[in-house]
């Protein structure tokens, strides 16, 4: 049977490692994904879809459950393809989705493999 437990603080049975539920929730990643160089999602959590916006452009990375505002944090790593490196640059952000570009060190757009994005913030 499903159940709901209402509690402010979690503590281990020895009364150590006390954690407030606000810390549990605030510290939890609200969304993450990994996509390949064809922009196909390999695995994800709370992402409904992404769009291949062209070379190096991950467009409309759209959440299943939206964020409360556009002040959330995005982090990630971009895997290299062939002999190119890659890093992320944020180009647009909203409560429901965001756009990022992957570029090489010399500024060229690059389709990254094992491209990862992680989101922390408040859900709506």
């Amino acid at each position: 049977m499903a159940s709901i437990l209402r509690v402010n603080t979690l503590t281990d049975a020895s009364s150590n490692n006390s954690t407030a539920m606000s810390t549990v929730f605030g510290g939890s990643g609200k969304a993450w994904l990994q996509h390949n160089s064809s922009h196909a999602i390999q695995d994800s959590f709370n992402f409904a879809s992404i769009t291949d916006g062209g070379t190096g452009l991950t467009s409309d990375a759209t959440f299943t459950s939206a964020m409360v505002n556009d002040d959330y944090a995005i982090s990630g790593c971009a895997g290299a393809t062939t002999n190119d490196d890659g890093f992320w640059a944020l180009t647009a952000i909203a409560t429901t989705d965001f756009n990022v570009r992957c570029r090489t060190h010399n500024g060229n757009l690059n389709d990254s493999n094992n491209a990862s994005l992680v989101v922390h913030g408040d859900l709506a």
């Binding site: 049977m1 499903a2 159940s3 437990l5 209402r6 509690v7 402010n8 603080t9 979690l10 503590t11 281990d12 049975a13 009364s15 006390s18 539920m21 549990v24 929730f25 605030g26 939890s28 990643g29 609200k30 993450w32 994904l33 990994q34 390999q42 695995d43 994800s44 959590f45 709370n46 459950s65 409360v68 982090s75 990630g76 790593c77 971009a78 895997g79 290299a80 393809t81 062939t82 002999n83 190119d84 490196d85 890659g86 890093f87 060190h105 493999n113 094992n114 990862s116 994005l117 992680v118 408040d122 859900l123 709506a124």
Partner: protein, 145 residues
């Protein structure tokens, strides 16, 4: 009324690996398990290579300049996990700005398994040469095996 739950293990009732928690907006729920980082590691890359602190990380190997492999204690379910990392610049009068990448699929040196990940720190100002960074951090999000 404030409350405190003393417990060593949380397990879902309907599905052992699925517990939802209510969000900051007091209505939307999210998966506790999916939102938890499954591993993280903070390394000292320059001077004497060392693990500063970690979670679910059994080892870290210095393969060479800017070339590190870290290994999880408890494996992920597959190789499709997401990673997020950052590293510091190398100091000195002409700082070198670094970023972290995995190697290319066809390089022969790529390592991305359920337990191990090999990454390289590249210098953004020096034609992508590998570089040791004083601080290196990596977080892993995904499904445990």
């Amino acid at each position: 009324m404030a409350s405190q739950l003393k417990v060593d293990t949380l397990t879902g009732v309907t599905t052992a690996g699925s517990i939802v928690v209510t969000g900051e907006g007091n209505s939307t729920t999210t998966s506790l398990q999916q939102g938890l980082a499954k591993s993280w590691v903070c390394l000292k890359g320059s001077d004497t290579f060392a693990v500063r602190d970690s979670f679910n990380t059994t080892s870290a190997t210095d393969n060479g300049v800017g070339d590190y492999t870290t290994t999880r204690s408890n494996a992920l379910a597959n190789g499709d996990y997401a990673t997020a990392g950052i590293c510091s610049a190398t100091g000195g009068g002409d700082p070198h700005y670094n970023f972290i990448v995995e190697n290319s699929e066809n390089s022969g040196t790529k390592i991305r398994t359920t337990t191990a990940l090999r990454t390289y720190i590249l210098n953004a100002r020096d034609n992508q040469s590998t570089n040791d960074a004083p601080d290196y951090s990596m977080t892993f999000m995904g499904d445990l095996a």
